[in-house]
């Protein structure tokens, strides 16, 4: 039989452990959402068009920069966050029309080309910022409290937005006529064209959609970090790792890959010293890829 005091102590410990678990789960979920948000656009363009967009990190940067411009000119940050995907969609469409479409026949050249585009964007923004780091406050700062636990409001917004965006993108690609056309022109461009589908227009749309997702990601995450020219670069390598891990050609693959990479990157520092955690993420991912070279999801394109 336990005495009353021991019972209380026991349940107190259980509570602490539960608190710890909930907090850890939230932290992992929040960072994973950031990862997924960034990978989504990259994954869509890679899976749907077969283009590995090395400028994706800089599209994220431009999304963040759009918010910064709004903030600087005295407009509300909310407006900047809403505008960023549209700005980036236009930018992506223009870029696809002028440059990217010349690369479809040569995916390797496409990597170099998009890398060059990214470099130009990054260094231009670095010049415009004068090399400084800029802070952009969250539209909804602070925390909300449940029990003894504090949860960051903005991270919660990011988690919810990510879930909504995943659901919406998935519905768009699998349940709408435009999604069907996109998938069709991927599967067999010649047949799609003979059915009267304007494939070049669809490629433009898809690329613009991927760019818009990058812009949204940049706009949402910039309050968590500082705006600097390298904000996208930080995530680019892990984003590519996510796509590789999840498998190219599906919509779910990169999302799953990003979830795995994000959770590992945020969770490992609890177990090993932080300097080791970073390379360890890559080691684990590479080992998985060794045994599942096609990624988590091996079926054909969506």
């Amino acid at each position: 039989m336990l005495k009353a005091g021991e019972l209380r102590a026991g349940s107190f410990n259980r509570l602490v452990i539960m608190d710890f678990g909930v907090k850890l789960a939230f932290d992992l979920l929040a960072f994973t959402s950031v990862m997924v948000l960034i990978v989504l656009g990259l994954g869509v363009v890679a899976s749907m068009m077969g283009i590995f967009n090395f400028a994706h990190g800089e599209f994220v940067l431009l999304g963040a920069y759009t918010v910064f411009i709004f903030h600087e000119s005295g407009l509300p940050i909310w407006a900047g966050i809403v505008a960023a995907p549209f700005v980036l969609a236009l930018f992506g469409a223009a870029l696809e029309r002028s440059i990217i479409r010349r690369f479809y026949a040569a995916p390797i050249i496409a990597m170099l080309g998009t890398y060059a585009i990214g470099l130009v964007i990054r260094e231009t923004v670095r010049g415009l910022l004068g090399g400084h780091y800029k802070s952009i406050p969250e539209p909804l700062p602070g925390v909300f409290t449940i029990g003894d636990l504090d949860f960051s409001i903005w991270r919660t917004v990011i988690v919810i937005t990510t879930l909504v965006v995943i659901a919406a993108s998935w519905l768009l690609l699998t349940r709408t006529s435009i999604g069907l056309q996109i998938r069709g022109s991927l599967e067999n461009p010649a047949l799609a064209r003979s059915c009267g589908i304007a494939t070049p227009r669809l490629y433009t749309l898809t690329f613009a959609f991927g760019s818009a997702l990058a812009g949204l990601a940049g706009a949402l995450i910039v309050p968590l970090y500082q705006l600097s020219a390298d904000i996208g670069l930080r995530f680019l390598v892990q984003a590519f790792l996510s796509v590789m891990l999840g498998g190219v050609g599906t919509f779910e693959g990169p999302v799953l890959g990003a979830t795995a990479v994000g959770a590992t990157a945020a969770g490992l520092p609890w177990l090993v010293i932080p300097v080791l955690a970073d390379p360890l993420v890559f080691v684990i991912a590479l080992v998985i890829v060794k045994f599942r070279p096609q990624g988590f999801i091996t079926q054909g394109r969506l």
């Binding site: 710890f20 907090k23 850890l24 932290d27 992992l28 960072f31 950031v34 260094e123 670095r126 010049g127 004068g130 090399g131 400084h132 780091y133 800029k134 802070s135 406050p137 969250e138 700062p141 602070g142 925390v143 504090d150 960051s152 991270r155 968590l224 970090y225 500082q226 600097s228 390298d230 904000i231 930080r234 995530f235 990157a265 945020a266 520092p269 609890w270 010293i273 932080p274 300097v275 970073d278």
Partner: protein, 421 residues
């Protein structure tokens, strides 16, 4: 001569509509703004008056472009500012100072070549500059050993640089820790320290010294941890801070990992629950790095804050903003600017001592006993044989008024010993 030649070549090609000089000045303006790596030519600022006695050639090697460009440009502006004041007052021992700039481009590999240019082609009498420790390590040998030239390093740093003819004019770990940490432990009553740090040499050596001071004052280091410089996620660290009942975070995480760390720390309620955040490289440049509420209450310790109550410093700030109105490169302590000013003034004082003799041994011997009466935050005094200087140190706290951040100076320590070498 040269200018008339340039005009001729410009008028020789009127169709272009852009003279070579315009093009050049445009390009250098771009490079000064951090747009392009203008590493080919270097820069020369010659005073207006005649130089019968032969000018003093002062080389500035700093990061005009690249990641540390904001600090580098501030350094270059402060050097121009200090030298202009000296030249206007008649130069040093009757000689004017000529400034030569080479961009070290935030990249030690590029820097070594450019610094060699200062030494071999320009034949400068002294080099000032370098901001990061990696940069100092890279350029000190080409300057001091192979170049046989005096070198002055202006940035606050981790200490242990005891090369002959290399003088450090920024604060050392002892100067930054000896005032701040006892203040936190004894006055604020915070005893459990966490040392989260970026993984490179400055935090490692600074922490080593800080740990000694913490323990000597009866405090305790709960954990000391190093992160990749751009780590974006710190929940594990925040967890350790909470579990370890840490009440003072002595931060040496630097951008870009800095913002997410400070934000997560704030969101965890650390400050709200009485925790103290301190960070010894925070100057006025960093006031806008975080939203105001995250900055509130932060403690820093530097050789100068703009709110320091010192008439000479106030005059200095005023003259600086007059020369560079609306500049985004501030005259602050954390960006090596105060060290740059001190370095130029120490050199001036030394050459006055030698009566215009610019030979390295002579100037170095005078530098070793150098003293400057005034400067940002007060005067400074070399500790003979140690190549480091005593200076006033200030503990300051960040306050927020209607969304605006500022530092309030809390205490001043006179002529703190660098305790190096």
């Amino acid at each position: 001569m040269t200018s008339s030649k340039e005009e001729k070549s410009a008028s020789g090609a009127p169709a272009r509509g852009l003279s070579r000089r315009q093009l050049l000045s445009g390009a250098s303006a771009l490079s000064a703004a951090g747009w392009i790596a203008g590493t080919s030519g270097g820069w020369l600022l010659r005073p207006n008056w005649a130089n019968a006695a032969g000018p003093i050639k002062m080389g500035i090697a700093t990061d005009i472009t690249g990641a540390i460009a904001p600090s580098g440009n501030a350094n270059w502006q402060v050097a121009q500012f200090a030298v202009e004041q000296i030249n206007q007052a008649g130069g040093v021992a009757g000689k004017p100072i000529e400034l030569y700039l080479e961009d070290t481009a935030s990249d030690p590999k590029i820097a070594v070549g450019n610094v060699r240019k200062l030494i071999q082609e320009r034949k400068v009498d002294v080099v000032l500059g370098g901001i990061t420790s990696a940069m100092r390590q890279a350029i000190k040998d080409p300057i001091v050993n192979r170049g046989r030239t005096l070198y002055i390093y202006p940035q606050l740093y981790e200490g242990q640089e005891c090369t002959k003819h290399l003088y450090c004019t920024g604060p050392t770990p002892a100067q930054q820790c000896d005032e701040l940490i006892p203040y936190i432990i004894n006055k604020l009553g915070k005893k459990r320290f966490a040392l989260p740090s970026a993984n490179y040499v400055w935090p490692q050596l600074l922490n080593k010294y800080a740990r000694k001071v913490i323990q000597a004052n009866g405090g305790e280091v709960v954990f000391e941890e190093y992160y990749p410089l751009d780590q974006p996620e710190y929940s594990a660290t925040i967890g350790k801070i909470k579990d370890g009942k840490v009440d003072c975070v002595f931060n040496t995480v630097i951008p870009p990992g800095l913002q997410p760390f400070v934000k997560q720390l704030y969101e965890s309620g650390f400050q709200r629950n009485g925790g103290v955040l301190s960070c010894v490289y925070y100057d006025e440049n960093l006031l806008n790095y975080h939203p105001a509420h995250e900055m509130e209450g932060l403690y820093s310790c530097l050789d100068y804050f703009q709110s320091v109550n010192d008439p000479f410093s106030a005059k200095l700030q005023e003259a600086y903003s007059k020369k560079f109105p609306d500049t985004k490169y501030l005259f602050t302590a954390g960006s090596a600017s105060t060290g740059m000013y001190r370095g130029v003034k120490f050199y001036e004082a030394a050459v006055k001592q030698t009566k215009g003799d610019l030979a390295r041994e002579a100037v170095s011997a005078a530098m070793d006993k150098g003293k400057i009466a005034d400067g940002p935050g007060g005067g400074a005094e070399m500790v003979p044989g140690k190549m480091h200087c005593k200076m006033n140190m200030y503990v300051a706290q960040c306050k927020v008024d209607a969304g605006k951040t500022r530092y309030d100076v809390i205490s001043k320590a006179n002529m703190v010993d660098p305790k190096e070498c």
